[in-house]
């Protein structure tokens, strides 16, 4: 029993750091980390030195000074006497607006195009293939400029809408499509309109509850409710009833020609339309491919099994294929939403006043605070991207395969 072999007590030698597989990876990581730190230090030092050489300081106090410039599209009130910080906020809201609208439209078009590309009809799938390839193989900036050029060059000027000008408003003289944008009626909220809105919101909630109740009932008893018809009735009837009882408190302000331009109504500027459409069309091509790959990832056997159970094709799609496809679709969809949001910074090309144009454009230019401005701009996009991806990750975890 005493012949247990004595393990050679290795003393640690320095050369082991390089030649011993146990330590080598650690050595490489430490060296790499040190090099990284050194280059970071060098970059920061270089920036500080150059700022000092130019005689510039590093300060964010410019945000509190008067902006002095005007912004055309404002979601919150802004005048040229407000601060650069508020101008940045106006820009941020404009960025979020176009990103939000863009994500919705891109998803709608993308899902449609993706599903249609799988169509058995040769013409439909051919057209969709052409659409997807044309969109995603040309730069986004070109699409933005194309849509903008069409909107400004191919539409009439406001003064053409005067008598004998050759242009007419559409939809019972309520909507004007001009080269300054699309003018649509604006709702005016009269006295008692709050009640109408409240009732409408309540009926929306009721629809939601009804659908849950219907599903539960079907699961328990197998009986189906006419959900669609009931929802439709709930959507319109109560709100309309209250609307007329209150004496039609919500009226429309129709845009009219006055002076140089249309007055009244809401102006949807061409810059917003161009950016929104181009971003949506471009991103939708990528989303279409994601949707197609998601649907194709569900094996054919699932469809056949579903058909064998006697399910209709649309129920099969809704209940069998899409829930499984979503697991494949959601993660790459997140990155498309992020791309769309970040791509909206091309807004300056058409004069859309997003945060890149206000904070990252005019403010930087008028104050000369490039580094501070770009840092703020970068952190804004970083934060927005992180928020979008965390929200979408939450959604992803709700649809992904539940592993137990």
């Amino acid at each position: 029993m005493a012949d247990t072999t004595e393990m050679p007590q290795d003393k640690f030698r320095l050369s082991q750091l390089l030649y011993d597989a146990r330590y080598r990876s650690m050595t490489i990581q430490v060296v790499a980390a040190m090099l990284l730190m050194l280059s970071l230090a060098w970059l920061v030092d270089n920036t500080i030195q150059n700022l000092a050489a130019l005689g510039k300081d590093f300060s964010f106090s410019f945000l509190g000074t008067t902006a002095g410039y005007d912004i055309n599209q404002q979601l919150i009130p802004f005048t040229s006497q407000d601060t650069h910080a508020r101008a940045a906020l106006v820009g941020i809201l404009n960025t979020l607006l176009v990103a939000f609208l863009g994500c919705i439209l891109a998803t709608v078009i993308g899902v449609l195009a993706g599903v249609l590309r799988l169509s058995k009809n040769f013409v439909v799938s051919g057209i969709m293939t052409f659409y997807v390839e044309a969109m995603r193989n040309t730069p986004l900036l070109i699409w933005i400029l194309i849509v903008f050029a069409v909107m400004t060059e191919a539409t009439p000027q406001p003064r053409d809408f005067r008598e004998g000008g050759g242009a007419e408003m559409i939809l019972w003289d309520s909507v004007a499509i001009s080269n300054r944008g699309v003018f649509v009626p604006k709702p005016l909220w009269g006295e008692g309109s709050g009640l109408v809105v409240a009732v409408f919101l309540l009926s929306l909630a009721a629809i939601f509850i009804l659908r849950r109740f219907a599903r539960k009932r079907q699961e328990q008893t197998g009986q189906q409710l006419p959900v669609f018809r009931l929802s439709l009735a709930l959507f319109f009837v109560p709100a309309l009833l209250v609307y007329f009882i209150m004496g039609a408190p919500i009226t429309l302000e129709v845009p009219e020609l006055g002076g140089f331009n249309f007055v009244g109504g809401i102006q949807i500027r061409n810059s917003l339309i161009a950016l929104w459409l181009a971003l949506s069309l471009y991103t939708s091509a990528f989303i279409a491919e994601i949707v197609r790959s998601g649907i194709l990832s569900v094996s054919r056997g699932q469809t056949e099994a579903s058909f064998a159970l006697g399910m209709q094709p649309n129920r099969t799609m809704q209940l069998v294929i899409l829930p499984q496809a979503l697991r494949v679709i959601i993660p790459p969809l997140i990155s498309q939403f992020l791309n769309l949001t970040k791509n909206s910074s091309l807004a300056l090309a058409v004069g859309y006043m997003d945060v890149r144009s206000t904070l990252g454009g005019i403010t930087i230019n008028q104050t000369g605070r490039e580094i501070e401005g770009i840092l703020l701009l970068g952190s804004f996009y970083l934060i927005v991207s992180l928020i979008i991806s965390s929200v979408m990750n939450l959604y992803n975890s709700s649809v992904k395969l539940k592993e137990r």
């Binding site: 920036t47 130019l54 040229s80 400004t152 003064r159 300054r180 140089f260 090309a349 230019n365 970068g378």
Partner: protein
């Protein structure tokens, strides 16, 4: 993650990476070319001609500086800059001098760390409209849609003008003059506003210039001049005195036609002699050859010749001398003594 931080910092540092050198003249001479920040295209001021050579009022000043520093009017690399990128490009060392219809203001001189070296064109902001609108004064523009180049002083003046006069307007921001022109001609804006000279230059390129009128109100002072980086006084002196040699030469009657003759031997006028280097050592004080002004004027002409050739009344731009006449003719152009 680490990698992305690294790249991000790299990008930030890159903004300031062009090391601002304190001896631009030596750098220019070592490089053999002058990097001149110029307009990306404004007829009469800086635009390529049929052969692709840059021509214009501002371009001539760049060429004059190149002749002084390098002895060659062609040794200029023109860097087209937008109104948004121009000051950053200069501060970062992308260009040696900025001659791009840039207005001299206090904050640009101090906070942006630039130095304006004199004024080569006294300008003011004006408004251009289509005659079909029937507008005769800028005070009738309430509610108008205005195309405006972003990142300019005109953008701020515009906001002030409309605010002070209790009028509203809709700004349509554009990045370049070309874009503004296209938007204006398409009718996407009623009014185009920029410096008076820029409007005249832009209108000159229209198909039917007579259909557009520049309103009489001049709403701001826009002294346009060459700018250099703050802190390099030697280079600033060169730019300043090249500009004022051009202005002085006109005052003394020195032209590209007679400058060689006048420089051949000292003349009766000691001021001309010192300017042309036949008397004194003024060139050496600037770090330039003593006959620098001779070469400059021979290559590009004096201020009056440059003005008449590119933007004067006999050109499509058709600007009168106005404030830009010599002080002896009631204008503001005044060169300090060459002594």
């Amino acid at each position: 993650m680490k990698k992305s931080i690294f790249l991000g910092t790299l990008a930030v540092a890159g903004l300031a990476a062009g090391l601002a050198s304190a001896q631009t003249l030596a750098d220019v001479q070592a490089r053999g070319t002058l990097k001149c920040g110029s307009n990306e295209g404004l007829a009469g001021f800086a635009a390529p001609d049929a052969n692709g050579n840059m021509q214009g009022f501002d371009v001539s000043l760049c060429r004059a500086i190149a002749v002084a520093a390098l002895g060659d009017a062609q040794a200029v690399e023109f860097v087209p800059l937008t109104s948004q990128t121009r000051f950053t490009a200069l501060a970062a060392g992308e260009v040696d001098v900025l001659v791009r219809n840039s207005t001299w203001t206090l904050s640009r001189d101090t906070d942006l760390k630039l130095d304006f070296k004199g004024v080569n064109y006294y300008d003011g902001q004006a408004f251009m409209v289509n005659t079909a609108l029937g507008v005769s004064s800028a005070r009738e523009l309430d509610g108008a849609t205005v195309c405006i180049q972003t990142g300019t002083t005109t953008e701020l003046n515009l906001a002030d003008f409309f605010r002070v006069n209790n009028m509203t307007y809709e700004p349509v921001p554009v990045a370049t003059n070309a874009e503004g022109q296209q938007q204006y001609l398409a009718g996407a804006c009623d009014v185009y506003t920029t410096d008076m000279s820029g409007l005249a230059a832009t209108r000159a390129t229209f198909e039917s210039p007579a259909d557009h009128v520049i309103l009489p109100e001049i709403v701001s002072k826009e002294p346009l001049g060459p700018a250099v980086r703050h802190g390099d006084n030697e280079w600033g002196d060169v730019v300043y005195w090249v500009l004022h040699a051009l202005i002085g030469a006109e005052e003394y009657g020195v032209t590209s036609a007679n400058v060689r003759e006048l420089a051949a031997a000292p003349t009766e006028n000691p001021e001309i002699n010192r300017l042309l280097g036949t008397e004194g050592e003024l060139g050496a004080m600037l770090g330039l050859p003593n006959d620098w002004a001779v070469n400059v004027i021979a290559a590009v002409g004096n201020y009056g010749e440059i003005f008449e050739a590119h933007i004067g009344e006999n050109t499509p731009v058709g600007l009168a001398r106005g404030l830009n006449a010599q002080w002896t003719d009631g204008g503001l152009m005044y060169a300090p003594p060459f002594r």
